[in-house]
Symmetry: C2
């Protein structure tokens, strides 16, 4: 290991507790010298002053950190080389100029993939058993089943994954015990990776939606992907199937999805929305064929410790000249929401 560096830690007490419930001292041990500040106490100007006077080489921060001031780029007193951003969406606090200026930035990246995949499995099972109807109706309306009650299982289903990144790969692992047949539509993914996971390739999105009946939406949000899941596509899902969105809301025509769900031929489960918070009068609400979660797919409270551990590991990697995990590149930055 090379020499330890000066570290600025800008976490609220709540962030500290959530990311380092047991190992905060391990983080401190990695610093030649450290300073802890409450990020909520700073504005743009005092934040810039702090960075230029304390001169940390490493900054560890969370959701509440002030935006990094572009004014410090090129200033000889700015010694910052590595931002350990513990959560995911770095755009809120990081102007892209810092990436161009060579700042290293990591976030929680794929350490949370398995937890998002878990949310996908939960929502697929919940949609098939119609929890979107039963949970409110049992709790609020005194409901009980009758002879017309229909339920579905994931066992031996045909699952279609739209997108095949790290979350889809974790989903394949979680669904393995269910004996499902899995295909994906993801033009850029190589055959070798699909073979490794035992997943077949759908040639078109139409093939995926019409031949697989549990569709999990995980396509990246790019300009050309906006509303690419159209009403026509959604209507292709076989009757008794399910559509689950744990990717990005804007990939889907949400109003079309609400209309199709209302007809009851498929069940729908959604965790992510084009507009968040989801508007109170959105047609997803008060729709018994749709189960809704408020974007809880990300790391659960009890798994945020994984992000803290990753941060500690990445600082060690930085010291030892090893590759950083979940390094933010310009293209990752531009695709992030």
């Amino acid at each position: 290991m090379t020499d330890k560096k000066k570290i600025l830690i800008a976490l609220t007490p709540r962030e500290k507790e959530t990311f380092f419930p047991k190992n905060y001292s391990d983080l401190l041990d990695l610093a030649a010298e450290y300073k802890e500040v409450d990020p909520l106490a700073y504005n743009a100007q005092t934040w810039a002053e702090l960075l230029l006077t304390y001169q940390p080489e490493i900054l560890v921060s969370g959701w509440k950190a002030p935006t990094l001031p572009v004014s410090i780029i090129g200033n000889p007193d700015n010694k910052l080389k590595y931002l350990v951003y513990l959560p995911g969406s770095v755009r809120k606090i990081l102007p892209i100029e810092f990436l161009d200026a060579g700042l290293l930035v990591t976030n929680w990246g794929n350490v949370i993939s398995r937890v998002v995949a878990e949310c996908g499995l939960l929502l697929a099972l919940a949609a098939l058993r119609r929890v979107g109807y039963w949970a409110p109706a049992m709790q609020r309306d005194g409901a009980w089943k009758n002879e017309q009650t229909v339920t579905g299982s994931l066992f031996e289903r045909k699952v279609g994954l739209h997108g095949f990144g790290s979350i889809s790969q974790e989903l394949v692992r979680l669904m393995k015990p269910f004996g499902v047949e899995i295909a994906t539509y993801s033009p850029s993914v190589p055959d070798s990776l699909l073979a490794e996971f035992g997943v077949s390739r759908a040639k078109t999105l139409e093939d995926l939606f019409s031949q697989y009946d549990v569709i999990i939406e995980l396509a990246a949000l790019t300009p050309k992907n906006v509303h690419m899941v159209t009403e026509e596509l959604i209507r292709m899902i076989p009757e008794g199937g399910a559509f689950v969105n744990i990717g990005r809301g804007a990939v889907v025509d949400e109003y079309a999805l609400a209309r199709v769900a209302s007809e009851g031929k498929i069940q729908v489960a959604v965790d992510v929305y084009e507009v968040e918070p989801l508007p109170k009068d959105h047609p997803f609400r008060n729709n018994p064929n749709i189960i809704l979660l408020p974007h809880l797919g990300g790391p659960t409270t009890d798994r945020r410790a994984d992000c803290g551990k990753l941060g500690i590991q990445n600082i060690k990697n930085y010291y030892e000249g090893k590759p950083l995990e979940n390094l933010i590149t310009r293209s990752i930055y531009e695709r992030a929401t």
Copy 2:
């Protein structure tokens, strides 16, 4: 195969469709001669007359079959040797005298275990993510998350299974990808079976509830098990944990469970109840820390075909003198609900 036998099939059109969606002709092919009747058209007397005049050796029936009339036992015109009961709870239609008289009876038995286990996994995931709160609140109240929102994951949890029958064994398989540590309290289960599944033994129910934080209730309902899950036990579950009942409602002190759930330290998910349908004013209702399903753990609509397939296989086994799967013994009958 020995000679085919005379088969009486007493299924409603709905039962026929649900148990044999594609392979009804395979059932008919197994009969030397068959008669199909609508079970709803018979009363106790006409049912007895039919059995004594048509003289089937095999009876295939579902939920709607009339109770087998005890009066036919010992009658030389009663040729019935094997009842293929396609659903589970045979007590409704089968007086125990028939077992004592040597009638062979099978039901869906453990063919449904994996689907009940799936419901248990769904409810465990749902309890940890607090779907019992979010599903109704998102749908009905326009809710959205805030900074106080707490969620939990199954990854790397300590799971306690109360009971270790076929459903628990299937749950172990489904939970494998989550890297959980599993223990069971099930005094009668041999060490060798636990070793095969990689499950450790809790010496007491107190150990299970206090040292594992996702408790799945699957104990059989016997007279000594009634209300064995007491308030004291439930309070031992570590904060942030979950209690899921997919076994039998009467094993649990439900009013105590509702009280503890109200305090919010653990999340609760329930599919089975001491009184079913669940009374409208039961304290499980209108409780945001409890997610409720109306006893949907059994075979989902799409998996009832598995029960029909099992029935066909069992008739073949019967012809070939092989052991019948899920044969109802006196002790199974007495433990059934």
